[in-house]
C-alpha cells in the first residue's frame, strides 16, 4: 500500500491484555489516517479476524496464553497471509525477538514506546520497511555477529545431510541407505526439519533450505 495515498491504514490489534488493547485502540482511532477494523484477544480469534478483514497491518502481542504471538504469526504466514505484522510487546528476550523475525515479523516495537513512535513505525512498516525498536537493535547486531542468527544453526549436520539427499530426489528408504540409518530415523529427521523450517512438506523444505543457503 502506498502510504502517500489518502486511504486510511486499516489495522487489526491482537493482545490478550484487555486494558492495554482497548486503550491502544482508543489511541489509534484518534490518529489521523488510521482505522482499527478488528481486535482479537487470542491467537485463534486473530487468525479468523485477520483472514476475513485482510488488514494493512497487524499489531501483535508476543506473550499470550495458549497460542503465543509468534505461533500466531507462523500460522498466519502458513495460511498465506501477507499483511505486515508489527510485534508490539514488553519482551526483550532474544528467543522472542529471533522467533518473531524468523516467523515473518516486519517490525518489533516495545510497549514502552511513545504513541508518536508507534504512529511512525506503523507507517514505515505499511510502506514496506522493517523496523526494530532501538532497545533490541543492538541485540540483533550481537546475535548476527555471534553467528546465532545464522540459518545454518537452525539444523543439525545430519538434518542438512537428509535435506541434500531429498533435494537430489532420493526416497526416504534410499536416504536411509545412503546414511546407514533406518527409514524411521530419516522420517524423524524430516519431521524435525519441517518444524524448524516452518514448512508443511518435503518440497517446501528443500525450497526453503535452498533459499536460506543451507544446501
Amino acid at each position: 500500500m502506498d502510504v502517500g495515498m489518502s486511504a486510511e491504514i486499516r489495522i487489526v490489534v491482537v493482545d490478550d491484555h484487555t486494558l492495554f488493547r482497548r486503550g491502544l485502540v482508543g489511541l489509534l482511532v484518534e490518529m489521523e489516517g488510521f482505522k482499527v477494523i478488528g481486535e482479537a484477544s487470542n491467537g485463534q480469534d486473530a487468525l479468523s479476524v485477520i483472514a476475513t478483514q485482510n488488514p494493512d497491518i497487524v499489531l501483535l502481542d508476543v506473550n499470550m496464553p495458549e497460542m503465543s504471538g509468534i505461533a500466531t504469526l507462523a500460522a498466519l504466514r502458513k495460511q498465506g497471509v501477507v499483511s505486515p505484522v508489527l510485534m508490539l510487546t514488553i519482551s526483550q528476550h532474544e528467543e522472542d525477538l529471533i522467533g518473531a523475525i524468523r516467523a515473518g515479523a516486519n517490525g518489533y516495537l516495545l510497549k514502552n514506546a511513545e504513541p508518536e513512535t508507534l504512529r511512525q513505525t506503523i507507517k514505515q512498516v505499511v510502506a514496506g520497511n522493517s523496523v526494530l525498536a532501538p532497545e533490541v537493535t543492538e541485540q540483533v547486531f550481537r546475535l548476527v555477529r555471534s553467528g546465532q542468527f545464522d540459518p545454518i544453526n537452525l539444523l543439525t549436520g545430519r538434518e542438512v545431510e537428509v535435506l541434500r539427499y531429498l533435494s537430489q530426489g532420493l526416497t526416504t528408504a534410499q536416504t536411509g541407505s545412503e546414511m546407514f540409518i533406518s527409514e524411521n530415523t530419516v522420517k524423524t529427521h524430516i519431521r524435525h526439519i519441517l518444524e524448524k523450517l516452518e514448512v508443511s512438506n518435503r518440497a517446501e523444505a528443500v525450497a526453503r533450505a535452498t533459499q536460506l543457503g543451507l544446501i
Binding site: 490478550d16 491484555h17 486494558l19 492495554f20 482497548r22 486503550g23 491502544l24 485502540v25 482508543g26 489511541l27 484518534e30 506473550n63 499470550m64 496464553p65 514488553i90 519482551s91 510497549k111 514502552n112 514506546a113 511513545e114 504513541p115 508507534l118
Partner: protein
C-alpha cells in the same frame, strides 16, 4: 506529555474541587495514555482529577502530595516495582483503592480496597462481609 493531567477545565489550585483523585503509575506511555483516553469521558463526568506518574519516585511523591482515592499501578519491576509499591501501601494509612496490573503477565488483575470503619460499622460489615 505532562506528568499530571487534569481532566476538565480545573486548575492546579482547585484540587479540592475534584470529587475524586486518580493516579495512573506506569512507565509505558501507550498504556498510560490509552487508559486515560479510554475512560476520559467517564472520569470527566465524575469530576475526577487524573495524575500520571512514570517512575517509582514520581509515584511515591504523588501518593504523598495528592493522596489519590484510586491508584492504577502498571508494575514492571524495573521502573515501577510491585514490592516497593505494596510495601508503601501496606505501611501507609491512606484509604485508597489500588489496582495492580502488569503488561508482562496474563495473570488476573489484583484490586486492593482499604477501608476504615468505626467499631459500630464493623459490626454491620461483619454481618455480611462477602458482598460489596
Amino acid at each position: 506529555m505532562s506528568n499530571h493531567t487534569v481532566i476538565g477545565s480545573f486548575g492546579l489550585n482547585q484540587i479540592s474541587e475534584f470529587s475524586r483523585r486518580l493516579l495512573i503509575a506506569s512507565a509505558n506511555p501507550l498504556f498510560r495514555e490509552g487508559l486515560h483516553r479510554l475512560y476520559a469521558s467517564q472520569w470527566n463526568a465524575q469530576n475526577v482529577r487524573v495524575d500520571m506518574a512514570t517512575t517509582m519516585e514520581e509515584t511515591l511523591n504523588f501518593l504523598e502530595s495528592r493522596q489519590p482515592d484510586l491508584v492504577i499501578v502498571d508494575h514492571d519491576d524495573k521502573t515501577i516495582n510491585r514490592g516497593e509499591f505494596l510495601n508503601r501501601f501496606v505501611t501507609g494509612e491512606m484509604p485508597m483503592k489500588v489496582l495492580l496490573v502488569s503488561l508482562a503477565s496474563s495473570e488476573p488483575i489484583v484490586i486492593y480496597n482499604r477501608k476504615y470503619l468505626t467499631a459500630a460499622q464493623v459490626e454491620d460489615w461483619l454481618a455480611n462481609p462477602w458482598d460489596e
